[in-house]
Amino acid sequence: MQRSKVLDLYFVDARSRLIDIAAFLDRVERAEGDDDYRVRTFREALRALVAEGNGSKRAERVLMVFSDPTLEPVELAEGKAATGTWRRAEG
């Protein structure tokens, strides 16, 4: 597909989603309290999004930032629902 066709189909939608992300970060910063592991990982994902290299696998890179990188099963499931990002042991 021609790049112009991709842009015709998806540019306005992507622009809207990007502004939503900007507004989300503004909203988080305006709110009281501190960042938690989700915001820290979100910022790391944004850096992965704009980083050069590794072909054009941006979606995969962002998914990997949010993913649990370990391979051993956990002892017990902590609740039934995932939160959206792996919680690293933070010092």
Partner: protein
């Protein structure tokens, strides 16, 4: 346009949804056993659920001229209770010969715990002993990559399992490659927020053209869209994919995988 919906939890949907998917071209619907949104209290609760899947729901679908199939299991969300899981596993063989039963599913992992792994292995053994197809749920969000690795390792280490008879569902950009490279089928789930949008699903399909993939809506009692497959087909047309490509993906591929079950009848 014709399509098969290979993953929909219709017991949680209204009859309006049956009408909508049939009007959109759906020729058969397949319903994996699922978590009810709360933990069932006993094996007898599952006996009733399996009766619902194999007796009642096919009748409800038939009112809309839609063939209904199902998969049986205890969902990984309920796998922390090993005693209950064993009780449910012992019930399943009673139902495997029923006409609409396709195999064991959707089994897999949720939070990647040791008990979930143990129950997954028991389901795989059950499927192998009864020569059943397998439908695998991969975990959500941050748990997906790890869970997919663990699931694939278990399946690859069991020499009774033929990867061409196993579909690994809910693949995304970071897991689809490892699934297809190991010879398994992959399912792409079109789901708001937690899985793939139509645009991303089509990106994956373009990267893995000709792969053993299907698309499903996985609609259930939560935020989901029973028409996600036909809507994605429309998006494929807008991107220049022709009708034959789309038919291959949403009708012929499901037929090819599901026809490995003697219970599946190719819809006309």
């Amino acid at each position: 346009m014709r399509y098969i919906e290979p993953h929909a939890h219709m017991v949680s949907r209204t009859t309006d949804d049956y009408e909508a998917i049939v009007l959109a071209g759906c020729k058969a619907v397949c319903e994996p056993a699922f978590w009810a949104g709360f933990d069932r209290g006993s094996g007898e609760g599952f006996r009733d659920y399996f009766a619902q899947l194999t007796e009642h729901e096919p009748k409800r679908a038939a009112k809309y001229l839609l063939p209904h199939y199902c998969w049986l299991c205890i969902n990984p969300k309920e796998s922390e209770n090993l005693a209950l899981a064993d009780e449910v596993l012992s019930l399943i063989p009673e139902f495997l010969d029923r006409p609409g039963v396709l195999g064991i599913g959707e089994i897999g992992l949720n939070r990647n715990s040791r008990n979930e792994v143990a129950v997954f292995e028991k389901h795989v053994d059950l499927a192998a002993c009864h020569n059943q197809l397998i439908l695998v749920h991969t975990p959500h969000l941050e748990d997906k990559r790890k869970g997919t690795h663990i699931i694939l390792d278990i399946l690859k280490n069991d020499n009774r399992i033929d990867p061409s008879r196993v579909l690994i569902d809910h693949v995304e950009e970071h897991t689809v490659g490892m699934v297809l490279d190991a010879g398994f089928w992959g399912g792409i789930t079109l789901y708001p927020e937690s899985k793939c949008t139509p645009a991303r699903a089509i990106d994956i399909l373009e990267h893995h053209a000709g792969g053993n993939l299907w698309m499903n809506c996985a609609c259930d009692w939560g935020h989901s869209d029973p028409l996600a497959v036909p809507k994605t087909c429309l998006e494929m047309r807008r991107r220049g994919h022709d009708k034959d490509e789309i038919d291959h993906l949403v009708f012929q591929n499901p037929v090819r995988f599901l026809s490995q079950s003697p219970h599946f009848i190719v819809p006309s």
